[in-house]
């Protein structure tokens, strides 16, 4: 029973008291030294900087796409800056190499970091700026989960770019310094698993030339998934060339944790009116160029969206939806993912649930009411959020699929008509389909052909994931090429009369956007111009 005394509540209380005291303790400043170009941002900065520096450094790291209309200290900035541009790259699905080359000039301008070998006298200043701006933005972006996630994503990307640029010697030194808490594989073990290790690295080099480290496999799930490490008894043996992805994962992990701690500390940031407005301003200007879809903007005013009118409206549908519509009319049936993709699209153009059920019921005319009610009605209602779990009902069901989703998720299997024709059709079938919907212009067809063929190159260079997302932009161009052809007269007219801004004529990345623009353009005369402008604002 005496042992119970060791449950020492007093000691806990004492610890708490200490902790409180600590808050008012003098901060111990330590002069920061930057041994490496890379930084894991483990220790917060402690030196003084001016308010101007505070804002300018943060903005340099961030950016303002919409000209940074700000503040007392600085002239407006119009350039794109680092993080925001990085995020834009990721939305456009650029590969890491593409992003690297794209980012290079920007990084040099705003966040130059030179390597230890460059003997520049500004090494310290550069690194200090990098260090401080990172922590300023942490403050600005810790407040909400969404901001934290985005910030951590772009910071990780930035870190990854820099890590890849690093020479292997400096990288190794850096990795050693950050103390990854991993074990070097001993000579004995390397000999024991000689063949296995050789098989993981390939034939080119013997395993002796690699430095191997051993970690719990949970820390490198992506390497495990693509079988790029040797596995034994829950440990992953990571060759040096793959270690960078481990470091990056560790970076993200630590950053995410630190951001959460920052978020918790924020309310106690008993700050006056100097920093808080700047931080607010910073976070507000981190705007998403996301192709997210909102139902309020996609429906078209004045159009008769009803079950019996779908056949007419389908002329304005993008090719993927036209294909689904044609398959549906031909077979009086669509498989699951086809139904899902099409239902959500129809929901997106403003077809309400009752009409949608009528539409599907009449389209599936070969089956009985009973079968329909049993097997299909529920799914349609679920898509609209009429049934299902709380979150589904409250969220109004699923969002209509974007091009990205259609291109990359659930490639169609045998007998399935969903997906993107530009991506999932063979060239012959695609051409036939395009001609079937009335596109016979040879130059357009050739353009589509070129677009489609050039994707193969990208496919081949992607080793692990056959459903690579790098091809997305190309296929979007492909779809937009057809859009522009079909609507070329109207687009011209719209531009001339400046009914639509050029932003409204940007690349389409959502099938519902295609429909909306197509409908508006084809009905330029009929639909009131004010409506269109309102939607723009």
């Amino acid at each position: 029973m005496l042992r119970q005394d060791f449950n020492r509540p007093e000691i806990k209380r004492r610890a708490l008291a200490d902790h409180r005291k600590k808050q008012f303790a003098d901060p111990t400043y330590q002069a920061t030294e930057y041994h490496h170009r890379l930084n894991f941002y483990a220790t917060p900065p402690t030196a003084d900087i001016t308010l101007e520096q505070f804002e300018q450094w943060a903005i340099d790291r961030l950016r303002g796409r919409l000209s940074f209309r700000r503040s007392r200290f600085l002239p407006p900035l119009t350039d794109l800056q680092v993080l925001a541009e990085l995020e834009a790259c990721s939305f456009r699905n650029k590969s890491l190499d593409e992003t690297a080359s794209h980012m290079k000039p920007l990084l040099e301008k705003y966040l130059l970091l030179q390597s230890n070998t460059s003997s520049s006298s500004r090494l310290f200043d550069e690194r200090q700026k990098d260090h401080y701006s990172h922590f300023i933005l942490r403050l600005a972006f810790a407040s909400t989960e969404d901001l934290r996630r985005r910030f951590s994503r772009v910071e990780t990307m930035l870190f990854h770019l820099r890590l890849n640029e690093e020479s292997s010697r400096e990288r190794d030194a850096f990795i050693k310094d950050i103390n990854l808490d991993c074990e070097q594989v001993t000579e004995d073990e390397r000999n024991k698993y000689r063949d296995e290790l050789a098989a993981v690295t390939g034939f080119r080099k013997g395993p002796e030339e690699e430095t191997w480290i051993k970690v719990d496999w949970e820390r490198v799930p992506d390497l495990v998934e693509s079988r790029r490490v040797f596995m034994r008894a829950g440990k992953a043996y990571v060759p040096s060339k793959e270690q960078s992805s481990m470091v990056v994962a560790e970076f993200t992990k630590r950053l995410d944790r630190a951001l959460e701690l920052t978020a918790r500390a924020l309310p106690r940031l008993d700050e006056d009116d100097r920093l808080t407005p700047i931080l607010d301003h910073l976070s507000k200007n981190f705007i998403t160029p996301d192709a997210s879809y909102t139902s309020s903007t996609s429906s078209v005013a004045g159009a008769d969206i009803s079950a019996r009118n779908i056949d007419t409206l389908s002329a304005h549908f993008p090719l993927c939806m036209q294909n689904l519509h044609r398959s549906l009319r031909r077979d009086a049936h669509l498989k699951h993912f086809g139904r899902l993709q099409y239902t959500l699209f129809l929901k997106g153009i403003g077809l309400n649930l009752e009409e949608c059920l009528i539409f599907w019921r009449s389209a599936f005319h070969k089956i009985t009411d009973d079968t329909f009610n049993k097997e299909y009605r529920y799914n349609v209602r679920h898509s609209y959020g009429d049934v299902g779990g709380d979150s589904n009902r409250r969220g109004g069901g699923y969002s209509p699929f974007s091009c990205q989703k259609i291109l990359t998720e659930h490639p169609p299997g045998p007998g399935e008509a969903h997906g993107c024709p530009y991506r999932h059709f063979s060239l012959e079938n695609l051409t036939a389909l395009l001609q079937g919907v009335g596109i016979t212009d040879r130059s357009v067809l050739n353009g589509v052909k070129e677009d489609k063929e050039s994707q193969k190159f990208h496919m081949a260079c992607n080793r692990c994931d056959p459903y690579s997302c790098y091809i997305v932009p190309l296929l979007l161009i492909c779809g937009n090429r057809v859009f522009e052809h079909v609507h070329k007269n109207e687009i011209k007219k719209a531009k001339e009369e400046s009914i639509m801004t050029s932003a409204q004529l940007e690349t389409i990345v959502h099938p519902n956007e295609y429909f909306k623009r197509s409908y508006l353009l084809k009905n330029l005369g009929k639909v009131n111009g004010d409506d269109i402008k309102m939607e723009d604002s």
Binding site: A198, A199, E225, G234, P414
Partner: protein
């Protein structure tokens, strides 16, 4: 209908029960632990026997009112005959049949211990989702999700009341799934842990098996499952270091794996996806041609799998399945080989002797290659293509979606498959080759076995003079015993080291 008497009416005849029940349980535990000790080298075998007793002491009080049917026969040594004469002709989801099965045979206690990881009820069990498939009066299927039960006797009571044709097991949630709607913050209702699961289904082998198709299986095509289990089990144990892996016959045409290690249970979706990706080799639908495209040199997991699978390929695929007997199937084989000239001469040879066996055709490839049928033959490419073919015809075809998601539900072990009536029994991987799905007992057979059981039937194992539980009278016995030893080994690994120490100290004090 003596079987359907309510628990209350039985209580009167249970006065003499508890002691013998306890003894019974203690002996069981002893068995199980011995079996496990041979298996998993545990530390401190000293006093294991005693601890086993203690473990069951915790249950003794529950047992009293919890399992009335198990002891029912004590007061009535002559087992009453099944009320239904010929059980074979009844549908396997018949409510009467299901009631008897759940009351007398289903091992709820071990199921509870398995998911609870401790003898005393914890949140591991209490916050676990169960999903029941029940039938209403008009025989419509109703799927009840988010059921949960605090203890073994409550799940038993509810299952017997609802008589689901089957039920599935989901994840452990942050709170009791039944209370999910009362939470102020809905997003805090999240799945926390579930066993890592795998699902292998013979329908995925339809392209390569010739003996059966669709839902039908025989011992010939079951060999595909046997080899799949070997490959996946080896990889999970050797590569990932998991210890507690249970394979369960799915009742008709496949098998499920439950990886129950604590480390596996708490994995997030990303890690599950990683394991699934690590194991996945065969990709693409029916129209995508070559389904195995691997980088050379082969990853150690793949070369090891190839070693495991090669003998099976020779006997179970080439000889038994004869996959390339017909000429269009042989054409598929040719489409997987790289050398056009070689293919030409192979085609000529096979056309001239129709009905040539697959074994010979497979040998022909090397024979003709050696004889120089093709001048520019790339020997390495041919070898690699042949390896790919072996893998395409033997490598496990996993239904990968089951493994990827933490919150995926999977059918519980020991439920009855509604179509076949067979019980989803665990498969002992030590005797994997002996397992024959067509010999797995059906619920009808089991109930008949209880009826025809005579107390003198199994003298050896019941030396203590106690009366065996109902499942011990049937061919379900070895499966339940295997399950029990699996669960005990798992519980022993889970036991909090602190508690263990306390218990040892207490025993040391003569507690």
């Amino acid at each position: 209908m003596p079987h359907f008497t309510s628990p209350q009416s039985q209580e009167s005849c249970e006065v003499s029960k508890p002691r013998s029940e306890m003894a019974d349980a203690a002996v069981h535990t002893g068995h199980g632990q011995e079996a496990v000790d041979n298996d998993v080298d545990m530390i401190g075998t000293n006093g294991e026997e005693k601890k086993g007793v203690k473990l069951d002491d915790l249950f003794a009080d529950i047992n009293d009112e919890e399992w009335p049917t198990e002891t029912q026969n004590e007061s009535k040594p002559e087992s009453p005959l099944s009320p239904i004469g010929n059980t074979n002709e009844i549908s396997s989801s018949d409510p009467g049949l299901m009631r008897m099965f759940y009351q007398r045979l289903f091992p709820f206690r071990y199921l509870f211990q398995w998911l609870n990881h401790s003898p005393t009820p914890t949140n591991d069990f209490g916050h676990r989702e169960f999903a029941l498939t029940i039938h209403d009066n008009t025989d419509n299927e109703i799927y009840l999700r988010y059921q949960s039960y605090p203890t073994a006797d409550l799940i038993r009571k509810d299952i017997i009341a609802k008589l689901p044709s089957r039920f599935e097991i989901g994840p452990v949630y942050t709170t009791n799934p039944r209370d999910r709607k009362t939470l102020r913050n809905q997003s805090s209702f999240k799945p926390l842990a579930k066993e890592l699961c795998f699902d292998i289904d013979l329908t995925d082998y339809d392209g390569i098996r010739t003996c059966c198709d669709k839902a039908n299986i025989c011992i010939k095509c079951w060999q595909f499952i046997t080899m799949a289990i070997k490959v996946v089990d080896t990889a999970l144990r050797d590569d990932f270091g998991f210890k507690h892996i249970m394979w369960v016959y799915s009742g008709r045409r496949g098998a499920h794996a439950w990886v129950c290690d604590k480390k596996a249970r708490v994995m997030d979706d990303q890690k599950r996806r990683a394991i699934a990706g690590y194991l996945e080799v065969i990709r693409g639908g029916s129209q995508s041609g070559k389904k195995v495209n691997l980088w050379r040199p082969l990853h150690p997991h793949l070369s090891r799998s190839l070693d495991i699978l090669a003998p099976h390929f020779q006997s179970d695929v080439l000889e038994t399945q004869d996959p390339w007997a017909s000429s269009d199937r042989a054409e598929h084989l040719l489409s997987l080989l790289p050398d056009k000239a070689l293919n030409e001469s192979l085609r000529k040879k096979w056309d001239s002797s129709p009905g040539r066996a697959s074994t010979s055709k497979w040998a022909d490839i090397d024979a003709l290659a050696k004889s120089g049928a093709s001048k520019g033959l790339d020997a390495r490419a041919l070898l690699e293509a042949k390896q790919d073919i072996v893998l395409e015809y033997t490598y496990p075809r996993l239904d990968i979606e089951v493994s990827k998601k933490l919150n995926h539900l999977l059918k519980s072990p020991f439920v009855v498959h509604p179509g076949t009536g067979r019980v989803c029994v665990p498969i002992d991987t030590d005797k994997l080759e002996e397992f024959d799905p067509t010999n797995v007992p059906t619920v009808q057979e089991l109930l008949r076995e209880i009826d025809s059981w005579k107390s003198g039937d199994e003298p050896a194992s019941n030396a203590g003079g106690k009366t065996p539980a109902d499942w011990e009278k049937t061919s379900l016995k070895p499966y339940v015993e295997y399950f029990r030893s699996f669960v005990l080994a798992l519980m022993r690994d889970e036991r909090d080291p602190k508690i263990k120490r306390e218990r040892e100290e207490a025993e040391g004090l003569g507690f």
